[in-house]
Structures are given as C-alpha cells and as structure tokens.
C-alpha cells in the first residue's frame, strides 16, 4: 500500500525528489523527514537548512515561517467572511462541537494557540458564563438561601461572571490579533481575556500553567508540529487537556472527490473574488492535503507525551478533533 502510494506519486507529480520525500514521510518508511514521527527530532537538529512543504511547494524552513506569516497577514481582514463563505457556515458548528467536547467549568484556564480572531476564545467565554449563570439559577431554585455577603456582592457587581475562568489567546501574527481585539471590543468581551503575541513552537509561558490547550485550524501552519506538541505538553498542568481541531483526511472516496473538486476549483476563486487573494487560499487547500491523517497525527500527539489520545472525525473526516491528556 505504501509503495503503491510512492509509485503513484512518482508518476503523478514528476521527478521532484522532494515529492518522493513527502510520500515517504506519509508512509513512515523514510525517517529523514523532519516532521515525521520516526527519528524526527534527532535529524532536525543535525541538518539546520532542511526543506519542508508550503502547500505543494517545497521551501526551506525559514522561508515557510515567513510565507505563512504573509498569508495570514493578508487574509486577516476577510478571514471570518471567507471562513463563512468557504465552509458555508459549517465552521461555526465545528467550533461549537469543540467547545462541547471541552466542557469547561467555571475556573478553567484556557490557552488558545493560533487563536487569532478569537472564535474559540469567545465561545469559551460564552459557555463558561452560561454555566455560571446556570449554576446560580440552580442554587436559587434549590432554595439555598444566599448569604448576606453574596447578596451584597451581587449588588456591587463584584462577583466574577466567569467564575474564575480565563482565556489567553496566543497568535504569532499581529494582524490576526488586531482583528481579534477589534472583534472583542465590538462584541463586548472584556473580562477574562488576554491577547499574547507568541510562537506555538516556543510559547512565552511557564510550565504547568493551563488546564486546557486548544489549537483550532492552526497546527498545520506550524513549521515543526512536534515542537508545538511538546510545548503544549509543557504548559499544561498535570491533568490538563490538549484539544486540536484541524482539517484531516476524508474517509469516504466519493465525498473525497467532491471535496477535492470543491477545494481546488471553488475555494481559490472565492478567495480571488471576495478577498482579492488567490494564492493564500491555494496555499490553504494545499496545506490541508499535506497534513497527516487522523491516525498519524494521533501518534504524533502520543510521541509528545500525551496519554489517552483519541480523535473524532466530523463531516466525514473533513475535520477531526484530537484530544489528549497530560497525566
């Protein structure tokens, strides 16, 4: 199966060695690919100028970082509009499902990496606020009389509506953070929210700080996915949860063909017409194809030290939510 895949790619894509390297990475045969699961970290320390993929292009690793930055810098303003257009609004459901899986309680400290425009953070705040209100309602209904202090606090509005929950949104891109902050101001989110400029491969936080780490549609843009996973392991508290929402491989062949047709024919056109940017959206659909499958990614997460790693495919595998625990 793996060799067939190699043969197919070889005749398909021409004689570029990098393409064969990529196919070997997928099958796990060749261990010299930096972001693969086998022998990866060792070799990436030896060869500083290794090559990686940027969509279907081959670029050096330093180049990739800069190129990804430019992509998100240019799409930032129309990011949310394009998400709605491209997924026909379904991305909202995916993000809601991520929150449902997370089931945060008041007091949860969330780190949302590559959180840019704040979709996950705002949903988290809404969820926790609703939970807190629900808890208060239940208290009142159960005839548990509030103490005078609690009533006084209510009148003074001193009670934290989030119940101690905090979310830190971390992104490498200034433009995306800017848009996120504007959205927060426009939608009235003030408390419990912090915006930090940081790199997923080198997070500016201490060890054992957060209860939940999420990364939604961001990890495929990271140059060294294994480093990002290790950082995630580091900043989580013991017992903390890692959640990743990302595009993945479709398991149904018919839907896969339709999905490919839609991705490659329609999405760059949408990008050109709505955002005036064909190339960024071409990169987007290509980067989705380059990302490992659900099982491979699960193995990568396990390699980083997480346990009880599971995944759930949504919409026939177009996206998948991976979850792991630091125990």
């Amino acid at each position: 199966m793996a060799t067939h895949r190699c043969c197919a790619l070889w005749s398909y894509c021409g004689r570029r060695w990098s393409r064969v390297m990529r196919c070997c990475r997928l099958s796990g045969l060749c261990s010299s690919w930096p972001s693969g699961p086998l022998g990866a970290r060792h070799l990436s320390q030896e060869k500083p100028a290794t090559e990686t993929h940027f969509g279907f292009e081959t670029v050096s690793e330093e180049e990739k970082r800069g190129k990804v930055y430019h992509v998100f810098e240019s799409v930032a303003k129309k990011y949310d509009v394009m998400n709605d257009m491209m997924s026909l609004g379904i991305h909202r459901i995916w993000k809601d499902l991520l929150l449902c899986k997370m089931r945060p309680f008041p007091g949860t400290q969330l780190l949302d990496v590559a959180g840019g425009t704040g979709d996950i953070a705002f949903r988290f705040l809404n969820y926790v606020q609703a939970q807190h209100k629900g808890k208060q309602k239940r208290q009142l209904r159960a005839q548990q009389n509030l103490s005078w202090e609690e009533i006084a606090k209510k009148y003074q509005n001193e009670e934290d509506p989030l119940g101690g929950s905090r979310v830190v949104v971390c992104d490498i891109n200034k433009e995306m953070l800017k848009i996120g902050k504007q959205k927060a101001r426009a939608q009235g989110y003030k408390a419990g929210l912090a915006w930090v400029l940081g790199d997923a491969e080198e997070l500016p936080f201490d060890d054992d700080k957060f209860d939940v780490y999420t990364i939604a549609f961001g990890i495929r843009n990271v140059t060294h996915i294994d480093q990002a996973l290790q950082e995630a392991h580091r900043v989580l508290k013991p017992g903390g949860r890692f959640l990743c929402l990302e595009f993945s491989q479709v398991n149904n062949p018919l839907i896969s063909r339709l999905y490919d047709l839609y991705s490659f024919q329609v999405i760059p056109v949408l990008g050109e017409v709505i955002a005036g940017d064909w190339k960024s959206y071409q990169y987007l659909v290509e980067s989705i194809r380059q990302f490992p499958s659900q099982e491979e990614f699960r193995e990568m997460i396990e390699d980083a030290g997480f346990e009880k790693v599971t995944y759930e495919s949504l919409t026939s595998g177009i996206v998948a939510i991976h979850s792991g625990f630091k125990l």
Binding site: L26, D260, F264, W278, Q282
Partner: protein
C-alpha cells in the same frame, strides 16, 4: 502498470482520484513552477474560469471600486477578442513592432522629466496632466494572471496600460460618466466582453440626468469615433510623446468631445 496504478489509486483519498497529469491540473488547479507561461501566471481550468467570470462580474457590479474584479473579468472572458486584437496588431506594421518589442507603460519606464519638458499640447504633456489632475498612476493596473497564452497576456496588459492614454485622446475624465464613455469606445474597438458588459451595465449606477446626457450625446459620439478610428492598440505611443495631441486626434479621426454640463460633475 496503468492497471496497477489505477487499482492503487482507488483507496488513495488524498490524491483526489483523477488519473493523469491533465486531470491533475483540472482537479488541483495551479501548479508551482511547471506550466507557468509568464511571471504571475495562474493556470486555471475551464470551470475555474467560468466561476471567476461570474464571481468577478457580480462583485464588480456590487462594489465598483474593485478594479481588480473588472480586470479578472476581462482576462477570463476575453479569449476570442484578444485573439482578434492580436491578429489586428500583427497585420499592422506598427502593431507588429509592439508585439515584438513588448513595451510597457509604467512609472519606471516613463521618463517623467522628459515628458514634462515637452511642448504644450503634445501627447506626453497632456497625458501627464491627465494623470496629475485625476490623481491616477499607470502602476495601478493589475498584472495579468488568468490568460493562458503568453502573447495574449501581453495584449491585454498593453490594453490596460493604453486605457489612460485613451482617456487623454478622448478628453474624458475618470468619473463614472467618463469611464463609461471610454468603455463604449473600447467596446467598439476591441470587442472585449468585459468592455461590452461594462458599457451596458455601468450606467445602472448613474443618475437620471447623467443617463440622459450619456444616451443622447456621449454614446453616439463614442461609437462613431470607435468605428472611425483604426485599432488604437496599433500605435506605438512611446514614440509619439512629442506629437501634438490635436494632430494625433486628426490622424485617428477622433472629433472633439461634446461639451456636457452635468450637475455635480467637473
């Protein structure tokens, strides 16, 4: 081997399932490196061109400030018109020279000081004055991306760069009324679907008074001149900067623009 490939490809969801490199382009769109005919070229399938044409037409109507959408519409719908234009250029000696030498009009290729020093009433002077008064620059023209023939890509690029010179020749400002008039002239000259669509749908956004002026005076004048003048892409404008504008207009058979006074327009 082909049978092996075919059976191997069936379970390979990641590759899109189509066979052969041609189908690969069809499904996967633009490639990197191979297949690019000129810098900035994005190869597109017929489906993508159709979607682009429809999308850009809609967006251009919705938001007239999206000049890039007008450009994309021109590129995706102009195949036959561009071939016709190219053949026109090949038949004319000056046009054939342009096709061979491929001159470009941009701020980097224009010698602005020399143009400014030209006598009053010359093409170069009037062109610069037009750029200054209307605050436009030849560098704002989008580069060609979706034309799949390298020579035709140059033809449409030349058409875009000559557009401002046409404004100067016709004496039309860059407000909506002026642009529509120039579009009518261009539609008759080039037969580009984008010009025809722009000429027909542009007036939707005009006021009643402007529309009346357009229909009664400007359109007949533009159409007459368009028919009378030879192909405007056949002029090597870079050699004609010193030529007095009046003489050039006489050569092309372009009459003076009708004086129109519309409230609210210069």
């Amino acid at each position: 081997m082909a049978m092996l490939l075919r059976s191997a490809l069936r379970p390979l969801r990641a590759l899109g399932g189509r066979r052969g490199p041609a189908a690969d382009v069809w499904l996967r769109g633009a490639r990197h490196g191979a297949g690019l005919l000129y810098p900035g070229h994005i190869p597109t399938s017929p489906l993508q061109k159709a979607l682009l044409a429809a999308g850009s037409a809609g967006m251009a109507l919705y938001n007239p400030y999206r000049h890039d959408m007008v450009a994309v519409l021109g590129e995706t719908t102009g195949y036959y018109a561009l071939k016709f234009l190219r053949d026109q250029m090949r038949k004319d000696p000056e046009g054939a020279e342009i096709l061979q030498k491929r001159p470009r009009i941009s701020l980097s290729t224009l010698d602005l000081d020399k143009l400014r020093s030209l006598p009053e009433g010359s093409l170069g002077q009037e062109y610069l004055r037009f750029l200054d008064v209307n605050r436009v620059s030849p560098d704002t023209r989008a580069p060609t991306r979706f034309v799949d023939d390298e020579e035709l890509a140059y033809v449409i690029q030349r058409y875009r760069e000559v557009h401002d010179i046409l404004h100067t020749l016709l004496g039309m400002p860059t407000n909506l009324l002026g642009e529509i008039t120039v579009k009518w002239f261009e539609a008759v000259q080039t037969h580009l679907p984008m010009c025809i669509l722009g000429a027909l749908f542009g007036p939707i956004r005009l006021s009643a008074q402007s529309l009346q002026v357009l229909i009664s005076e400007l359109i007949p004048w533009a159409v007459q001149n368009g028919h009378r003048a030879p192909c405007v892409l056949n002029l090597y404008y870079e050699r004609r900067w010193e030529q007095p504008l009046r003489a050039l207009r006489e050569e092309l058979g372009i009459t003076d623009a009708p004086h129109v006074h519309v409230r609210g327009l210069a």
